[in-house]
């Protein structure tokens, strides 16, 4: 079963008077991991926020899970989102379970309790290997453990599309590796479409099914190897990538 989850065609986004994204086109399939790369300020976060309907599409088409760009608000309950790290309060009196529970809140849960709350929370925590920490204070966990709990928060509502904004930043190498493997197994089990923003080109390239490289406008879109070996990558990042593109390929990384 191949199904288009996100279709962007010549997408442009304006923030204030500034054109932050211009002429972006790509497609995200169900069961695929799409890596989004690009330098700081390229508009990666803005792209995720556009998919969530949090910023207005100025021109072009954007279709998410069958919803067009004007009613993206409706699609939010079907999307799991992990914002770029700094968005949450670091020392907050929440247990791990409380953090995951916030992932279930939506307009539908206003004025009422969620049914099966406990079961959903422990299920989500089990799938990220954190079920033993359910009652721990969230602030006492390590950065890597917190990331896994935040991943549980984004999947607890059983989304069809998962948007992750640099979920790996600040993790050491084994923790990053673990996180990616976890993500891949989740993706396979639930047949999820995953869009992953990352600055770790090596890691995304080895796990992603396709790469989208943006810098305001889209530069490249295709299989990880094609994108990383493309001469246009330097152009997107406005610097030389000799080392990366010449020595690192999928085969090399995997053995």
């Amino acid at each position: 079963m191949v199904e288009k989850v996100v279709v962007a065609e010549n997408l442009s986004v304006l923030l204030g008077r500034r054109k932050v994204l211009e002429d972006i086109s790509f497609t995200v399939m169900r069961g695929q991991l799409t890596g989004v790369i690009g330098p700081n300020g390229a508009g990666k976060t803005t792209l995720l926020r556009a998919i969530l309907g949090l910023v207005q599409v100025e021109s072009g088409e954007l279709n998410v899970l069958g919803y067009s760009k004007i009613d993206l608000k409706e699609v939010r309950p079907k999307i799991g989102y992990m914002p770029q790290l700094q968005s949450f309060e670091k020392r907050f009196p929440f247990s791990v379970a409380d953090v995951v529970a916030t992932g279930l809140l939506s307009p539908k849960t206003l004025f009422r309790r969620h049914v099966n709350l406990k079961k959903r929370i422990s299920q989500a925590l089990r799938s990220v290997g954190m079920e033993n920490y359910i009652l721990e204070p969230f602030q006492d966990l390590s950065g890597g453990e917190q990331q896994r709990v935040l991943l549980a928060r984004s999947i607890v509502r059983k989304p069809e599309l998962l948007l992750l904004d640099e979920p790996n930043s600040g993790l050491d190498f084994p923790a990053q590796r673990l996180f990616m493997e976890l993500l891949i197994s989740l993706k396979t089990e639930e047949n999820l479409a995953v869009v992953l923003v990352s600055h770790d080109l090596v890691s995304v390239a080895s796990f992603a099914d396709q790469l989208v490289c943006i810098n305001r406008t889209m530069h490249l879109h295709g299989s990880p190897l094609d994108v990383l070996n493309s001469p246009h990558l330097d152009e997107a990042y406005r610097c030389q990538f000799d080392l990366l593109s010449s020595t690192i390929g999928k085969e090399r990384y995997e053995n």
């Binding site: 309950p77 914002p83 968005s87 907050f92 916030t102 992932g103 809140l105």
Partner: protein, 277 residues
Amino acid sequence: MSEILAYGFMQRALMAAIFVGLLCSTLSFFVVLKRLSFLGAGISHTALGGIAIGLVLGIDPIITGSVFAVGTAMSTGYISRIGRVGEDTVIGIYYATGMALGIALISSFKGYYPELFALLFGNILSVTVRDLAIMAVVLVFVLLFVILFFKELLAICFDEEMAIAGGLPVNLIYMGLLAAMGLTVIVSIQLVGVVLVAALIVIPGAISFRLSKNYRGMLWLSLLFGLGGSVGGLFISYFFPVPPGAAIVLILAVAFALTMVLKPIFESGHRKTLLDK
């Protein structure tokens, strides 16, 4: 004890202390979690301008003060979300302007000087039945709002971006919280005055934030300290020549200082992690 409460003014003062203690400690919980303490100070000082307008024009100061307090709170939230000006900058401007307006108006009418002192430092012993009724109404509204939107308020305080992405009416709820803060500050001014009210909506939450890593525990502790501080301060001021407002704030400040010392002891008994088992 019973002999103190034989006085009508003390009965009313006690009721007022309980109402205000409950209100302030409930909001204090969110003020600390959402880092709104400077806004609290800003609202109360701006309110002085509103109260002064009421006194000068002969309108009930609680009405003009409420308009100023709620207006300050909500417009601060609005301006900092829409414009490119930081919340603290907006508050800094309101703060001084409101205070200046208040002082200018009140001092140009000589007869109001005694009232100015009461406004600045509170006058709980002059609370009337009507004041109590207003406090009760505000208390009911604020508690209703907090109970209805409790989980959403928590989620917004923890991670606003996620709350928005989840489709919650974040702006509406946040504005509701700011309005509740404005009303709470206004009715609390009678108890502790413009200058000290900021302490009453910060310290209970700050103490409980230090003591608990669990929001339920934090909320109960905040209520406990808020009520204990306001009622305790009232009784202290009956026996010692200290104004109630100052006594209340000093009790809370001492309690906060104690948590600095006592926290390690408290924690060692309470920490139960997987590793300890």
